[in-house]
């Protein structure tokens, strides 16, 4: 009895160790975090869908390789690139100097305007409205900023000398602002607007953008071949019937409905 169980364990171990990710060289593994609609999300049957997903498949077509979307937690994307688990990340990732140290970025293909979700009571106390400027926001002494760890959500207020508390995920950060444990959250437009819609009585959106954060695709440092292909691909976006036009056909309405004000151009223009 003992021998059977012992040999079973050995077999189990061997199975585990031999289940190595045998990656076929032909498949292009593209990483993104499927929790940020409408760019990266899944439909009800857990199939990836979104603007970045469309871009990913279009890239596959461009280079003539089959695409596998690897759902990776945002914090784990850069480590996944470095370890070779994914070949490229099309994850609405902002190009920052910090990240440039670990990965190589393509030219920007979108510009995410970083806007603010502000707690309603805080806004009333400080006479803030939807059309307030970022100077108005930055001038307030003692405002409590919250951001999502390892994202520009944190680094941008910090660059202005603010102290930012870090949340590990978007939901927590939004709840913080809605409940008043934080005052201001900087994020790209869609999450901010979604956060506002979920808490219309407790939050307001301040549309003046802090920066237009350039969004790029990330590859492993030194992978110049894939980087070149990606840049060539991005160069085609502006063509007539290029990817921007195609994406507008599919997503313009969704974006307009989501943001209430803007469509894809909000992201294309700096």
């Amino acid at each position: 009895m003992k021998k059977i169980l012992l040999s079973l364990t050995v077999v189990l171990f061997i199975i585990i160790l031999s289940a190595c990710g045998k990656k076929e060289d032909d498949v292009l593994r593209i990483g993104m975090d499927l929790q940020y609609p409408p760019f990266e999300t899944v439909n009800g049957s857990n199939v990836p869908e979104g603007i970045s997903v469309d871009i990913a498949y279009a890239f596959g077509e461009f280079v003539g390789r089959e695409v596998e979307i690897v759902n990776t937690n945002f914090l784990a994307i850069i480590p996944a690139i470095q370890s070779g688990e994914i070949d490229i990340a099309i994850a609405s990732m902002s190009i920052t100097a910090e990240r440039e140290k670990s990965v190589d970025f393509t030219n920007p293909y979108f510009y995410f305007k970083i806007i603010s979700l502000v707690n309603d009571d805080f806004a009333t106390t400080n006479s803030l409205t939807e059309d307030s400027t970022i100077e108005d926001l930055l001038a307030i002494v003692g405002a409590r900023y919250v951001g999502i760890a390892a994202q520009v959500s944190v680094s941008i207020p910090e660059s202005y000398g603010k102290i930012v508390s870090e949340a590990t995920d978007l939901g927590t950060a939004i709840e913080g602002v809605a409940q008043g444990t934080s005052d201001i959250l900087l994020m790209s437009a869609n999450p901010v607007v979604n956060g506002y819609k979920a808490n219309p009585d407790d939050t307001i959106v301040v549309w003046d953008a802090f920066v237009a954060s350039p969004i790029g695709m990330a590859v492993k440092e030194g992978n110049s071949e894939l980087l070149q292909q990606a840049n060539d691909f991005i160069a085609t976006f502006k063509d007539d019937d290029g990817l921007y036009d195609q994406l507008k056909i599919d997503w313009e309405e969704v974006l307009l409905e989501n943001l209430g004000r803007y469509g894809l151009d909000f992201y294309i223009n700096e």
């Binding site: 009895m1 003992k2 169980l5 012992l6 079973l8 364990t9 189990l12 585990i16 160790l17 289940a19 190595c20 990710g21 990656k23 975090d33 499927l34 929790q35 940020y36 609609p37 999300t41 899944v42 439909n43 009800g44 049957s45 857990n46 759902n71 990776t72 937690n73 784990a76 480590p79 370890s83 688990e85 995920d169 978007l170 939901g171 939004i174 709840e175 979604n194 956060g195 819609k197 979920a198 808490n199």
Partner: protein, 255 residues
Amino acid sequence: MKTWVDTDLTSILMNKTVSYILAIFTIVAFVTIVILRSTSGFSLSSFTPYKSLIISGFFNTIYVSIVSLFGSLILGFVFYEFSISKSKYLIAFTDVFTEIIYGTPLLVLIVISAFVIGPAFNTYNRNLMGIAALIIYMTPYMKNVYKSAFSSITEEQYMAMDLFGFTPFQRYRYIIIPQVIRILMPPLMNNFSLIIKGSALLNVLSYNELYYAIRVAQSKTFDFVEGYLLMWVIYLVITIPLSQLTKYIERRWAL
């Protein structure tokens, strides 16, 4: 003989069923108060498009838990054998291993297995490493279950079995297992319950278990109150019948 009319109010309140109903009602009342204070319109409608995602999350949670249960049952038995073996090294190894696992939070173990140990051995199958972490985490607990269960069979019983010339099969079938099961079952089911609850942590690997499924469903509308409550209820739907089943088995297989 007391009829219903004869029993007074005190004995109605002392009635077991009524007490249970009142107890459940207290909890439900508390939850209702929380809901009313948190949100103006309680509605699960934002989750309906994700119904199949949540259902597959539900089944994945059960699947992962069962796999981890069997894995840790086997590995736990192996370490139990190590701990009573004659090899000082194996005893020491079990001890050291147990200490380390006891001291490691499950979340940390999952993340290290999937993002550090896995890639070190060229394994990028994060889900597999996550399940492995869950198995390894539960192994010391299972080992202890075996230890307390098997130690209940006294020397005299073994001598008696030798005396009567029981075959190994007869020993297990008629003497050891009936006694051991009664002792094994409650902690074993407890461990299974721990596994089910711990499986929620696999969400950091983007594995579509229940917690992850509901989080994704929440990512558009941020309906937290409904989402977390739904999650909570579904976990209870899995764990409460399990614990009731445990009690039933305990009673049935009692000595």
